[in-house]
Amino acid sequence: METNFRFTRFTAPIQTAGHCLLFLLRMLAGLRPALAQVQSILQQVYLIGARSLVIIMICGFFVGMVLSLQAINALEQFGASDQVSLLVGKSLFRELGPVLTALLFAGRAGTAITAEIGLMRATSQIDAMELMAIDPVQRVALPRFMAGLISVPLLTAMFNALAILGAVAFSIGVQGLDPGIFWSKLQTGVYFGKDFMGGIWKSLVFGGIVSLIAVFFGYTAKPTGAGVGTATTNTVVLSSVLVLIFDFIMTSFLT
């Protein structure tokens, strides 16, 4: 009995991962170039993407400010504070932008997706769809997953833009750095393809991870208040951990 319990504890996460991948395949199998599906995805892009914009922009701005503050403090010791835009740009586009956006998205939209689908399960709306011969995976999960996949890279780009603006506000507005040097270093030292797009590709993967976990945990939540609460917590915890793990893996291969 004890051995069986230990064995189950070991195999349960693998089993869940397998179910999650099958769930992903089931969603993708339902992708059609149908107008109704496109409309549904765009509606979710607005609900979970556009509505996350404010928090992403505010956080981006302050991350840019604090990053330039720390960078200037460190670089000043070597008389290289004019390199701040290079440091901010590289670290932001490659790492901080995609990772922080994904973590914020998991907290803001991922939880909302899980809670919404979990509540639909708890109030028998998912059952009602199945009984009306409407596939809830295609109807509920797929549009939210695709919307997350589309939204996170766009939100990352917006996060990056606002972070640069924050860096400009601090470095030029507060520290009095020369604007010409700031922009020229950024333009010559930070590459669009390698740095900016490298981060955007990462964010596409992060968007997929967070959205898949959010819809899967919502769909498989126990139909109780506690069940939905647990699923929501699991979404944030697991998607945050996986984003950081995948960030390391992708960075290892991309650089």
Binding site: A36, T123, D127, E130, L131, M132, A133, I134
Partner: protein
């Protein structure tokens, strides 16, 4: 046009000449080591309103889920209109479910859609009707449940009874062959109960449906159902027209119908796995 039991002027229960639209044979369903349903046999004739009664946890809703194909039986067969639903593939089952309307316990309206969109959802999903025709169809169904003018309301703006009536309109919008009701009047006030009950009878007769109702409400069954099955301890404990069951000498049926504490239906939960003891 299907001939309903009442129109035919006969008792639609077991033993009539009407061919059963739902035929269940030797149905067994288990959850883990617990046997939820054991050797269930039922024949539900076309046009009848049949009630499934029994104590909580007896397996009534499970039986409804088996009939709707949400669960698969471990043994036995469920035939609806000649099709064995327990052997259908998922795709075939989805297609087949268009013949079944289900009213769930709380109505299960989609909370992010208006009343109109709630009812229109199955129509848009399964037909290519033009928008004008869909609108006319939805308004007809809404009027038939007495809720004309509520099409732009959201589900949270409806009372419990109204939500149940909208759910009924949604369930019958594609003119199903059979209607399954899972405790359709639970939690409603007496007026709403009467309204929903009347609508269920009218809908059944007007559309030529066959209705299967899971309920605890003995009064409702006596006023609405043509035939009744009582499920207890995973088996059919009794069956017959509600009038006959009310005067049954069977101790189990008598206990349930008359709400007696003492009787063969146990008060204590019995677990298959372990003995419960106050002494630890």
């Amino acid at each position: 046009m299907l001939e309903t039991a009442q129109q035919a002027g006969r008792n639609p229960g077991v033993g009539t000449s009407a061919a059963p639209i739902i035929r269940i044979r030797n149905l067994v369903f288990r959850r883990g080591r617990n046997t939820i349903l054991d050797g269930i046999n039922m024949d539900i004739p076309r046009g009848a309103i049949v009630a499934l009664m029994g104590p909580s946890g007896a397996g009534k809703t499970t039986l409804l889920q088996l009939i709707a194909g949400q669960l698969r039986p471990d043994e036995g067969s469920i035939e609806i209109n000649g099709t064995n639903v327990s052997t259908l593939s998922d795709r075939e089952l989805y297609r087949f479910r268009r013949n079944i309307g289900v009213l769930l316990q709380n109505g299960a309206l989609f909370t992010d859609l208006t009343v109109f969109e709630n009812i229109a959802t199955p129509v848009r999903e399964h037909t290519d009707l033009p928008e004008a025709l869909i609108r006319r169809l939805i308004m007809t169904k809404l009027n038939s449940v007495g809720l004309g003018g509520t099409e732009d309301l959201m589900p949270h703006e409806l009372s419990g009874g109204m939500a149940r009536r909208v759910a009924l309109a949604r369930a019958v919008v594609l003119d199903p062959l059979i209607m399954l009701y899972d405790e359709p009047t639970t939690g409603l006030d007496p007026i709403a109960v009467s309204t929903v009950r009347t609508l269920m009878r009218e809908t059944n007769d007007a559309l030529g449906l066959t209705s299967l109702i899971v309920t605890h409400d003995v009064v409702q069954v006596s006023q609405l159902a043509d035939y009744c099955y009582i499920i207890a301890s995973a088996r059919i404990a009794g069956e017959g027209p509600p009038g006959e069951l009310a005067h049954s000498k069977d101790p189990g049926i008598d206990q349930f119908v008359n709400g007696k504490v003492e009787g063969p239906i146990a008060f204590h939960y019995t677990s298959a796995d372990r003995q419960w003891s106050l002494l630890g």
